[in-house]
């Protein structure tokens, strides 16, 4: 790209934008003006923070830890994810090892993380550990399953938040045919907004290069709008709730 051409295009577009916005547009038609009235700088401000105001209107994520756990479990079930409970990581490791035996998996990928290491230690099959020096697409593609940690689990939508920084990069949670994710109970939050808060605190402003909300196993409805699981991403999602 020639720098000159780029700058001209940018300047033209930004000039057109500024010119276009000289005449203000009316507010949208609304059911109520609650969201406008609650704007931090008053109703005349263009700066509106809908999420704080919208919280009571969005789907419920639960007030107490028990409620959140119940809502999360119900949502994951509806999404056709497999939910398993484990008292601690040792129990989780045994459950995963049983899965490996049952399915006859030959090789399972995992990444260095305090919640994943104990599980990976007793797999009972060949394993492939990912870190920033060992990534090999072909090796990962050949694995039967991938085990990752997560950054949060969201009751409201049944989503699991993973990031490239703390969950083994970008491909581990999407390329293998099965994704096993270890969730500790303290990672369960009520809403998407809460999950974003958690990630902001954790990474202090500098976001990992990828954050992904995973909501159930990969799916498609492209053929006659009939639901099929496992389009390109994992066909199965095992969520192991530890604690």
């Amino acid at each position: 790209m020639t720098a000159g051409g780029d700058t001209t295009a940018r300047d033209t577009i930004l000039a057109r934008v500024r010119e276009a916005l000289r005449v203000p547009a009316p507010l949208p038609h609304m059911k109520s003006h609650a969201a406008v009235a609650a704007a931090p700088a008053g109703p005349d401000s263009l700066t509106i923070l809908p999420v704080e105001v919208a919280r009571p209107w969005l789907p419920d994520g639960g007030e107490t830890a028990e409620e959140r756990l119940a809502i999360l479990t119900e949502n994951l079930g509806k999404l056709r994810a497999e939910v398993q409970r484990a008292a601690d990581l040792t129990a989780a490791a045994a459950q995963v090892a049983a899965l490996v035996r049952e399915r006859g998996w030959k090789r399972v990928a995992w990444h260095t993380h305090p919640a994943v290491e104990p599980v990976a230690a007793t797999l009972g099959c060949d394993s492939y550990r990912l870190d920033s020096t060992s990534f090999d697409k072909d090796a990962l593609e050949a694995c039967d399953a991938g085990i990752t940690a997560c950054d949060a689990a969201i009751a409201q939508t049944g989503s699991i938040l993973v990031s490239s920084a703390s969950c083994g990069g970008r491909a581990l949670s999407i390329l293998p045919h099965v994704h096993i994710v270890i969730v500790t109970l303290d990672q369960i939050v009520a809403t998407l907004g809460d999950a974003l808060d958690a990630i902001r605190t954790k990474h202090a402003g500098r976001m990992p290069s990828m954050l992904s909300f995973i909501t159930g196993p990969s799916r498609t409805g492209d053929i006659e709008r009939i639901l099929v699981l496992g389009a390109h991403g994992p066909k199965e999602l095992f969520v192991i709730l530890v604690g």
Partner: protein, 477 residues
């Protein structure tokens, strides 16, 4: 034609714009006659209402959530002058590179240059309507790049040599037997009538392609100004693979997709999924902030974002219809539109079908040639009711009709109105005209004058009453 708008012909678009209306009327008539196809499309969309309503019911107040979503987009679009540079600065601070394109042509040139720089051999793409808008695949193929659409629906459409039928459900009009034949022909797979098996064929075919591609091209659903991230929504996982495995990631986005806060997505993502496909969330909602970071296992070495205007600033300049830039492309307005269900996606001849396509296409490609789309509406308002970001869709169709009448009025229509005013403002003339009309209605039916022929082609004239309404009314009281 709007200055700077794209004029490249597309296989499924009218060769010359003048023909756009003719093509629309012709294809609509054909489609309406094909009752089998219509029943198939209706059936495919049948489950949508049930699942959408079930998800809507999970919201504690769907209507107020729509207020919040529309305000998030309103406040971003109306501050695009400030937020667009903020987004770009933050995106670049994350290590991404931004390329500005005024037109479709500029966007294609930029992408071809990026592919040359990357010495690309194999390109994998995930679903991106903006790339359809700029006819990217044709340009890439012309330059000798093999490009594969990885989204199942887009892949099927690519093999069929057709554009998407619906911008969210690209191949909803295709029967499984046709897909089986198509895969048999192109991939050499045995016939099957199971959607599951067909999906697995595509899955197996695509896996090596993700691993071998050196460039991945994706779209973007939101550009987050606060953090410089781009957000991509998908169900299949193909976009995630496309942005994970190739060495270079190129994303293409319209400039209007900016939102201010990361938190805005906590409202917009579930609403997009609920309105568009009746899901609590789309399966993968992924935010990208530049290429692989030191310490991360994998990811591309370079990330580029092409920011496209292509007449979006023309819509921005119209305060009345500026809200059509709030569109999050959920597809809800298509799913509920009686016109879409009857004339089908291809009839529109546009990149964006359905009600929202009918609103924005005249802005993108010229009102004079595309105003007929403003008439492709019963003005029932189903689209406006369905829209999660409260775009005033059906009123904008009326606005376009009004604007077209003001800029290029039809002489015939004007003459007709003038005559009507003359008659209707003189009671004696109105009565005499009415009497004459009642007497000569049979003659109209018989003669079918050219002016009425189109109208009469699908309608019957009623039998004329013996007496006028006014005389019946008088007799009653």
């Amino acid at each position: 034609m709007t200055p700077g708008a794209d004029t490249t012909p597309h296989a499924f678009e009218a060769e010359t714009p003048r023909l756009a209306k003719k093509k629309f009327l012709h294809d609509a008539a054909e489609h309406v006659r094909d009752t089998g196809h219509r029943a198939f499309v209706r059936k495919a969309l049948g489950g949508y209402y049930t699942s959408r309503d079930a998800q809507k019911a999970r919201f504690r107040d769907w209507e107020q959530a729509r207020d919040a979503a529309s305000l998030a987009k309103w406040s971003a679009v109306n501050r695009l002058d400030e937020l667009l540079p903020t987004f770009v600065a933050n995106f670049e601070a994350n290590g991404g590179r931004v390329h500005w394109a005024r037109t479709a042509d500029e966007a294609r040139t930029i992408i071809l240059e990026l592919l040359r720089d990357a010495k690309a051999k194999a390109v994998i793409k995930s679903k991106c309507m903006t790339s359809e808008e700029i006819h990217l695949n044709a340009a890439l193929e012309q330059d000798g790049y093999g490009v594969v659409e990885s989204d199942l629906g887009e892949f099927i459409q690519q093999l069929r040599g057709e554009p998407p039928y619906h911008f969210v459900f690209p191949c909803m009009h295709v029967r499984r037997e046709e897909i089986s034949d198509l895969f048999g022909k192109h991939l050499g797979t045995p016939p099957t009538d199971s959607p599951e098996e067909l999906t697995m064929i595509a899955r197996r075919h695509m896996r090596r392609l993700y691993v071998d591609a050196d460039v991945g091209i994706t779209g973007a659903n939101f550009l987050v100004a606060e953090t410089g991230q781009i957000s991509i929504t998908e169900n299949e996982g193909n976009a995630r693979l496309t942005a994970a495995l190739p060495r270079v990631h190129i994303a293409i986005s319209g400039i209007e997709k900016v939102v201010e806060h990361l938190d805005d997505l906590a409202v917009l993502l579930p609403m997009l999924a609920t309105a568009g496909a009746g899901q609590p969330m789309t399966c993968y909602n992924t935010l990208y902030a530049g290429p692989r970071r030191p310490g991360e296992c994998d990811g591309p070495e370079e990330m580029h974002l092409v920011l496209l205007d292509n007449s979006r600033t023309a819509i921005l300049a119209d305060p009345e219809q500026r809200d059509s830039l709030h569109c999050i492309r959920c597809g809800a307005c298509l799913n509920v539109c009686p016109i879409f269900k009857n004339v089908g996606g291809f009839t529109y001849g546009t990149t964006y079908q359905g009600p929202i396509g009918s609103v924005i296409t005249p802005h993108l490609r010229g009102l004079a040639d595309w105003n007929h789309l403003s008439g492709a509406s019963s003005l029932c308002g189903a689209c406006t009711d369905a829209c999660p970001v409260r775009i005033d869709i059906h009123h904008h169709l009326l606005h376009n009709r009004r604007n077209a009448a003001a800029t290029s009025p039809s002489r015939l229509e004007r003459l007709g109105h003038r005559m009507f005013v003359m008659v209707a403002s003189r009671p004696w003339l109105f009565a005499a005209g009415g009497a004459m009309f009642r007497k000569s209605l049979w003659l109209l039916k018989k003669l079918r004058p050219p002016l009425l022929r189109d109208w009469l082609a699908t309608r019957d004239l009623p039998a004329a009453p013996a007496r006028s309404f006014r005389s019946q009314w008088r007799a009653r009281s």
